[in-house]
Amino acid sequence: MFLCKGKKYLIVILVFLLFIGSTQTLKAEWTCENAFDLCLITQWNVNNPGEAVRCLMGYSFCKNYVEPLL
């Protein structure tokens, strides 16, 4: 009985911690660096730096226009 109760508490705590963790991850996710990383993964061939120019330009734009407003 005690173990069952303990398990329940444990599950509640774990869910709570997961929730906190996920919100913290979401908070930390949107930066110009992460957007650049995502751009490289999704759009451009990392092995060809020439193709990454648009991602770099996007990074520069993000730093100039977007980040000061976050």
């Binding site: 660096e33 650049f36 990383d37 490289l40 990392v46 730096p49 990454a52 120019v53 648009r54 770099l56 330009m57 996007g58 990074y59 520069s60 734009f61 730093k63 100039n64 226009y65 980040e67 000061p68 407003l69």
Partner: protein, 313 residues
């Protein structure tokens, strides 16, 4: 006796010269907010990026989120819009820098090469093809466009057919993206501010350095390695412009300013600091019209603020 008189005259002359000189440095500048544009449903702005004014001080902006160009009168009344998403004539994917020159508007895109030309009624006129996107550009007469590139160490000059005709080198090294600059060409000189370096300089049009200033006292910006790239973290300067009668230079600071993206450093033509203006809100760019009104960004780029520059001498 004659020698004494001569010395006295020279002393008087130097005294008056120093008086005039010190007065030039004693200019203090204040701003007074006079207008907000974009806060009524008719004049709605989704996110403006580029801004320019014509000879009558009508205001033109590029709206990144609406793929459009918009025109307002000097009092902020919405006049007209044009543009839509696309890659054809009069269409945009990332509308960005805009400049009024000699009756026409020249509009570039942030990540796409080429410049489109419109008249002041926002009718599409023609396109100027370019090989690569420009950070900033300036039409400089004789059907020439000067542009700064994302990676490079020179200001490239193009004709209106997009052909490279000349270049002004502004730094010798090839420092990946750290040499990116915003610039203005005024009379016989080139003025540049580096995005990722604490450098503002004035050069001749052949690239000879006249002066260089380090306002922020930052030796090197922090970098972060992401995959194969070492990226700079903090912007030093965002844009450079002039006023209309004082001939002063205005440089907007970035992350590393005391008030990030709000401090505007004002310098004389000789590179002497005269004052720092602090805007109430961060901005990505500034523009000064022909009546010395300063325009900047407000509310996440959905509004334009117009300030009067007041000089106390």
């Amino acid at each position: 006796m004659n020698n004494k008189k001569k010395k006295f005259k020279v002393f008087l002359l130097l005294f008056f010269i120093s008086l005039v000189f010190s007065k030039a440095q004693d200019v203090k500048i204040k701003i007074k907010e006079v207008l907000t544009i974009g806060n009524d449903p008719k004049s709605i702005i989704f996110q403006w990026v580029g801004l320019t004014t014509d000879q009558e001080n009508s205001i033109y902006i590029t709206d990144l989120k609406e793929y459009s160009v918009k025109k307002y009168d000097p009092d902020g009344k919405f006049i007209k819009r044009t543009g839509r998403k696309g890659q054809g004539p009069g269409e945009f994917l990332t509308p960005g820098p805009i400049q009024f020159y000699d009756g026409f508007l020249y509009i570039g895109q942030i990540q796409h090469p080429g410049i489109q030309v419109f008249d002041t009624e926002l009718n599409y006129i023609k396109s100027i093809p370019l090989k690569q996107p420009l950070i900033s550009f300036q039409v400089i007469g004789n059907e020439q466009i000067a542009g700064s590139m994302f990676m490079g160490n020179k200001i490239q000059l193009y004709d209106f057919k997009g052909r490279e005709i000349n270049a002004i080198p502004y730094i010798q090294n090839d420092d990946f993206m750290l040499n990116a600059v915003e610039f203005r060409i005024n009379k016989e000189n080139l003025y540049i501010c580096f995005q990722w370096k604490d450098i503002i300089s004035k050069l001749s049009l052949t690239g000879k350095k006249i002066w260089e200033r380090n306002i922020l006292k930052v030796k090197k910006v922090k970098t972060k390695k992401i995959k194969n790239f070492t990226l700079p973290q903090d912007i030093c300067f965002k844009t450079i412009t002039f006023d209309c009668d004082k001939n002063l230079i205005y440089v907007l600071g970035g992350h590393l300013s005391e008030n990030a993206s709000r401090d505007i450093y004002v310098l004389t033509q000789e590179g002497k600091w005269v004052d720092t203006i602090t805007l109430p809100e961060p901005t990505h760019t500034i523009h000064i019209d022909s009546e010395n009104f300063l325009l900047s960004r407000s509310e996440y780029g959905t509004l334009i603020k117009k300030f009067k520059l007041i000089f106390n001498e």
